[in-house]
């Protein structure tokens, strides 16, 4: 009986102490999300905002468009191409980050402890550096008079600058650049826990190099791979700053498309519905991640 009361007071104290944080988050993070859900089911106002009439039009308009004259319904090609670009660029970003990130994480994890701390710190600095500054830095490199084109011209490889800035390639390079640390850190954490004696054991049992990689290394570091890929894919999909700066307004991703609905486009319900779609996709990705990582967790 006493134990039960004790447990209840522990829970009560836990909630009471957490209350200020929860109130803050409810006001300025979770609560407003509910308003977005409501807004997605309203009609757009004449200039901006909403009219308080229930409508599923915003959700309909995510994928379809209705002809103004004859009312025929067709797929909204412009929207679809933006979604496809977002998914395509995010997947490509994840792939590039993985190809560069795995060897980097492996390299850091196999250093001596003192050197490892230094290399890790070198990865952490860009990770915490302002995203806009890093985007701006990569812009300086890839623009027509930038480092990359100047070097290529001086080497005699090209005559005129290659236009990379304000293309999808620029957005891809930029996102891979800014999100690379997000791939390296979880991969490092996974490889760091890896007992390298297992590799020797594998060799001692006459496994080939590929065999050791596939049967020993990969299964153990898989949670790190999943974590890194999700951590890169999720912010890439919702990216706003990098495509805005490097895509130059033409090459929109879904984040910029959402902003447009609150700017000149002035369709708040559509913007709200698009935000919800993005949120649902991201939460689904995170759910897959928690599933995979809890399944792979050796402790249960």
């Amino acid at each position: 009986m006493r134990a039960k009361t004790h447990r209840r007071s522990k829970g009560l104290n836990g909630w009471l102490l957490s209350l200020p944080a929860l109130v803050l988050l409810l006001i300025a993070a979770s609560g407003p999300l509910l308003i977005v859900v409501i807004y997605s089911f309203l009609e757009p106002g004449d200039y901006s905002g909403v009219r308080w009439t229930f409508s599923t039009d915003a959700w309909f308009r995510i994928l379809f468009q209705r002809d103004i004259f004859d009312g025929t319904v067709s797929l909204a090609d412009a929207n679809l191409s933006i979604f496809w670009r977002s998914v395509k660029l995010s997947l490509a970003t994840t792939l590039i980050a993985f190809v560069l990130g795995l060897p980097t994480a492996w390299f850091i994890a196999t250093r001596t402890p003192a050197a490892r701390a230094v290399w890790l710190f070198l990865i952490t600095i860009p990770f915490w550096t302002n995203l806009l500054i890093r985007t701006f830095a990569i812009m300086e490199v890839i623009r027509n008079q930038g480092l990359m084109n100047t070097a290529l011209i001086n080497l005699g490889l090209i005559e005129t600058p290659i236009q990379v800035l304000y293309t999808d390639t620029a957005v891809l390079i930029g996102m891979a650049y800014v999100y690379l640390p997000l791939m390296v850190l979880p991969l490092f954490a996974a490889i760091d826990r890896f007992d390298f004696k297992l590799i020797e054991a594998g060799y001692d049992l006459y496994a080939s190099r590929m065999g050791v990689l596939r049967r020993v290394v990969l299964p153990i570091i898989r949670p790190g791979i999943v974590a890194g890929c999700i951590l890169v894919f999720v912010p890439s999909l919702g990216a706003y700053v990098t495509p805005r700066v490097l895509g130059g307004g033409k090459n929109m991703m879904i984040g910029n498309f959402i902003e447009l609905q609150f700017g000149q486009g002035q369709n708040w319900p559509l913007g709200s519905a698009l935000s919800m779609v993005l949120l649902i996709v991201v939460l689904a990705a995170l759910l897959i991640y928690t599933r995979v990582s809890s399944r792979d967790d050796p402790n249960g």
């Binding site: 829970g11 104290n13 836990g14 102490l17 957490s18 209350l19 200020p20 944080a21 929860l22 803050l24 988050l25 006001i27 300025a28 993070a29 979770s30 609560g31 407003p32 308003i35 977005v36 560069l100 060897p103 980097t104 492996w106 390299f107 850091i108 196999t110 701390a117 070198l122 990865i123 952490t124 600095i125 860009p126 915490w128 550096t129 302002n130 806009l132 500054i133 701006f136 830095a137 990569i138 300086e140 490199v141 008079q145 480092l147 650049y177 690379l180 004696k197 590799i199 020797e200 919702g238 706003y240 700053v241 984040g255 959402i258 708040w268 709200s272 935000s275 993005l278 991201v282 939460l283």
Partner: protein, 268 residues
Amino acid sequence: MARRRSFDVTRLPGFTAIAILAFVLLYAPIVTLVIYSFNGSSSVNLWGGFSLQWYRIAFENEAVQSAAVRSFVIAASASMIATTVATLAALGTTRRGKFPGQTIIYVMINQPLMVPEIVTAVALLIFFASIKIATGYTGLGYLILAHSAFCVPFAYLPIRARLEGMDSAMETAAADLYASPVQTFRHITLPLLMPGVLAGAMLAFVISLDDVIITEFVKSAGQDTLPTYMLGQLRRALTPEVNAISTVLLAVTIVILTAFFLMTRKRD
């Protein structure tokens, strides 16, 4: 010798080369940006010798001055608020075993890490727009509130990590010596927890200082912070002034991070 052999075994072909390449790719743009902030030429394309002129121009620019002050005020207030509520939440959710609803608290606290920033930004835009109309208040309060909220998980994680690594024997001893819970907290728990609290406050400060998207959506007219000011500048002709501002922000981040690492490393 045995150690060396195992190293050779673990070294996969090309991995070191790719890793070095990755580090070069990570740092070359940032280093270029920093170097060009000291450019004596007025063009971003030509090198005109070492000069601090762009720092002087940035410092004398009133828009930059007010944006810098605003950034600092918001970051300081937000990190203070976030750290306070995060410390309480960490005390409430750590070292007391599981209690009903704990998962809900975790999910709420970590929510800003999971929801895409653009979605939160849109949600706050809608929410605050109606409050602005209803109350007529358009001050910095909205930005401070928004920043405080998304800083909570960054403040919470180091504090919770510190708490979990803390031995409760000292607190038990204090309680045995008839210290009241408040005295125990004030003289034992809080001093022991302080490195975690400071680390959390630093991360929150850096996160707030760096924010672009939420600030861009929530700010009223004339409420630019340094990042949103820079974003606005990018639409116009590029000048090394933005490089100078970036370099200063970068330096602030590196100083705070170095302090953070030295502080959290002492714990091990």
